[in-house]
């Protein structure tokens, strides 16, 4: 432990703690712009400077570890003036107009500027030429607003191991972006939006579909249905100043209804459907391999995360046959809404507009993939991020916090707890195992609260195994088989899966990959700012939602039974193949 004094308060912190973290322990918040929790400090912005007794110059607190007897002051005149100068310089190069900026309510630069007491830039500096990038469905870049903090580079390179962003050119001409200042579509960007999630300013944002959605709602000829991903209910509250991890499912439903959607449904329903299709696909693959000795691709990878699909298509095309052919729940929902639901309601699918609310920017891209229209109609028309929904609700003046709780509509609003946990890393795996185990043994998964604890939590890469015993006759070939699984979140951890598979191709049967750290609860479209403590709170909220449901297993969802009886006939059947499954291609 190291003893030191900060602003006259004596504290003792673990060796190696930075001044920044030590200060936060006593409730002193030091402003930061480039720092990202859990990553090597860059020391790029220097907004976090503090005075250290005996040091010749101000020290960046994010990059300076404490030493014994250190005396730190975080709020001296010298510190204030230094910070003011930094913000002044940043603003002098900043080509942005807060009034028209997407970030005007949660911009870190604007916040720091106003807390320091800067109302307008002191220097009218020369501004670098702004470059706009509208080349992807998911994101918009505006380099004029970029303050070159490099957080997005850390996200894209270290968390995602994609490497789409890097500093280009040098000096005043530096641009943070794709190769040779080109556009995101020119490089192998997976559109995950983790860069947009960490950007302190409005330089990378999601491509908004708010106007499209209003237009659909305002069109009396359209029947506009909305689906919300499981991760939204545990995060939307943050847009309305709730503590992270507050479940707002009921208020969210009421808010959606008052926005004017004709029906409020749940992506969860489609998540249950996914489990039935994907679980059966896994069992079929295992049977083909173990019983028939066919050369079938194993392990099977999950397919619900479009950023991950992109990643595999760009970087690991050899494994495309290993990815489950199941569409993601978002797309399954759309396909079912424009066929089964349309028929049931007697509405022409051409008049149905499917809107999704997703924690994800890559979902915007996924919805626009050409092949996602097997029914003859685009599965999903518009995708809003959690942040965009928050904005829409605010724009109507609805007082979210005082809304009564609502419930989802039938039939596409009914779901099990297994569907909720799709939002968490390890959740799709757990949901699948709950159903597959019961299918194969006739017994419930013998774990406390049905949780597959070894694959839960924030560790980036997780493995587990489960020996199957007491099989029912149909699945007796699995008797005694040790089913091995792995779970990775954050694409740099997917790279780890491939590394291990190269050493031992038979290492796993089933692998879950989620693009974003923590799974969808940490998606690129979630309210800012998402750090590990926020991720954990959302994860716990999702588990609470699951445990609070009367039905915890996808195959027990009565509406799933009904859709197979009335429409799909059987898992992996002809209709399923046509509507709910897809294919991937090398890019």
């Amino acid at each position: 432990m190291t003893d030191l004094t900060i602003n006259g308060i004596e504290i003792s912190v673990e060796d190696g703690t930075t001044i920044l973290d030590a200060a936060s322990k006593i409730g002193v918040t030091i402003p930061t712009l480039c720092h990202l929790q859990g990553h090597e400090p860059l020391g790029a912005c220097r907004i976090c400077v503090v005075e250290v007794e005996g040091a010749r110059s101000l020290m960046p607190s994010c990059a300076t570890p404490v030493t014994r007897g250190m005396v730190v002051k975080t709020n001296t005149r010298k510190v204030r003036e230094a910070r003011k100068l930094i913000v002044d310089l940043l603003l002098s190069e900043h080509e942005g107009n807060c009034q028209f900026c997407d970030r005007s309510n949660d911009c870190e630069l604007e916040k720091i500027a106003s807390s320091i007491g800067i109302s307008k830039p002191l220097y009218a500096g020369e501004k670098p030429e702004a470059r706009f990038d509208y080349t992807t469905k998911a994101l918009i870049r505006d380099t004029g607003k970029c303050i070159k903090c490099r957080r997005c580079i850390t996200a894209c390179n270290e968390i995602q191991a994609v490497g789409a962003l890097f500093p280009q050119n040098r000096g005043f001409e530096t641009v943070i972006g794709p190769a040779f200042t080109s556009d995101l579509a020119d490089v192998q960007c997976v559109q995950c939006g983790q860069c947009a999630a960490v950007c302190p300013v409005g330089a990378i944002i999601e491509r908004s579909n708010i106007d499209d959605v209003w237009e659909a709602i305002d069109n009396p000829g359209k029947h506009v249905v909305v689906q919300t991903a499981p991760a939204i209910r545990a995060a939307l509250g943050e847009c309305f100043d709730y503590e992270p991890g507050t479940l707002v499912t009921g208020k969210m439903i009421t808010a959606l209804r008052s926005l004017g959607f004709d029906a409020v449904f749940d992506t969860n329903f489609a998540a249950d459907l996914t489990i039935i299709e994907e679980g059966n696909e896994l069992l079929t693959r295992l049977k083909k391999k173990l019983v028939n000795g066919e050369d079938i691709a194993l392990p099977m990878f999950t397919s619900c995360s479009p950023g991950w699909i992109n990643y595999a298509e760009y970087f690991h095309p050899d494994y495309l046959n290993n990815i489950s052919s199941c569409k993601s729940p978002q797309q399954m929902f759309g396909a079912v809404a424009k066929t089964y639901y349309a028929q049931k309601q007697g509405i022409d699918p051409a008049d149905i507009v499917v809107v999704s609310v997703m924690p994800c920017t890559a979902k915007k891209y996924e919805a626009a993939r050409d092949e996602m229209a097997d029914s003859g109609f685009t599965d999903v028309d518009y995708v809003l991020t959690t942040r965009e929904l928050g904005k829409m609700i605010k724009s109507t003046g609805i007082d979210f916090r005082s809304l009564p709780d609502g419930v989802m509509d039938n039939p596409l609003g009914v779901s099990s707890g297994a569907a909720d946990i799709f939002a968490n890393t390890g959740g799709v795996m757990e949901a699948a195992i709950r159903t597959v185990y019961e299918l194969v043994t006739g017994r419930e998964l013998p774990f406390e609260n049905l949780h597959l604890t070894p694959v839960a939590g924030l560790k980036g890469f997780k493995e587990a195994s489960l020996t199957i015993e007491g099989t029912v006759p149909a699945w007796s070939f699995l008797e005694g088989v040790e089913v091995k699984v792995a779970v990775a979140h954050g694409l740099s951890n997917a790279a780890e899966v491939f590394r291990r598979l190269e050493e031992d191709p038979g290492r796993y049967h089933f692998v879950e990959v989620m693009s974003c750290p923590g799974g969808c609860i940490g998606g690129g479209g979630q309210p800012r700012f998402t750090d590990d403590s926020v991720r954990l709170k959302r994860i716990n909220a999702i588990y609470a939602e699951d445990e609070g449901k009367p039905i915890r297993k996808s195959h027990m969802n009565p509406m799933i039974t009904q859709i197979y009886e009335e429409f799909l006939i059987e898992p992996l059947g002809e209709k399923s193949h046509h509507l709910l499954h897809t294919h991937y291609a090398k890019k």
């Binding site: 490497g163 789409a164 890097f166 280009q168 794709p178 190769a179 200042t181 490089v187 192998q188």
Partner: protein
């Protein structure tokens, strides 16, 4: 700076890939291998073709954007092919004050390209240079190894024409 050899024809993508693999293979073990690799590639091709840069990234397990970041950091590297004739305009102090800038403008207009670009017919590339040591006779331009002194903006067309004619008779 090593002046690249002007290739008689453009290498195909396969040739570029193959050469890149050889060069990266030879140099990859060294510390800070990327810059020597890029230098060698530029010497070979006269510039850094996209195919070569992408393959280099793949082989070194770094992204194309990162390779590009390094390439664009140094003025030495060029990602546009070099023309048969490299025109360098001196913008040292003497040349600058004695009309170097006007000569540059005239060259740009005549060639229809900007600094660091190459004409579509791959005949001329335009660069600005530091002092060539001929200040007494400013402004000075160099076209490959030929030095032109006391160049007037109005004479630029004539000078360029002599290369174009030569090219026609060569063919």
């Amino acid at each position: 700076m090593v002046d690249a050899q002007i290739p008689t024809r453009e290498p195909t993508d396969e040739e570029i890939t193959k050469q890149t693999e050889i060069i990266v293979g030879e140099l990859i073990g060294r510390k800070g291998a990327l810059i020597p690799i890029l230098q060698t590639l530029q010497e070979l091709f006269g510039y850094l073709p996209e195919t070569a840069l992408k393959r280099t990234g793949e082989l070194m397990k770094i992204s194309y954007s990162e390779v590009a970041g390094v390439v664009s950091f140094y003025k030495y590297f060029s990602i546009v092919p070099r023309g048969k004739y490299l025109i360098r305009v001196c913008l040292g102090t003497s040349c600058y004050v004695r009309g170097g800038k006007e000569v540059l403008e005239s060259l740009k207009n005549n060639l229809g390209i900007d600094i660091d670009e190459t004409t579509e017919d791959r005949l001329f590339s335009l660069k600005v240079g530091r002092c060539f040591g001929a200040c007494g006779l400013a402004p000075v331009i160099m076209i490959n190894d030929d030095i032109y002194r006391r160049v007037k903006p109005s004479k630029v067309g004539e000078i360029l024409q002599s290369y174009r004619v030569q090219e026609d008779t060569d063919d």
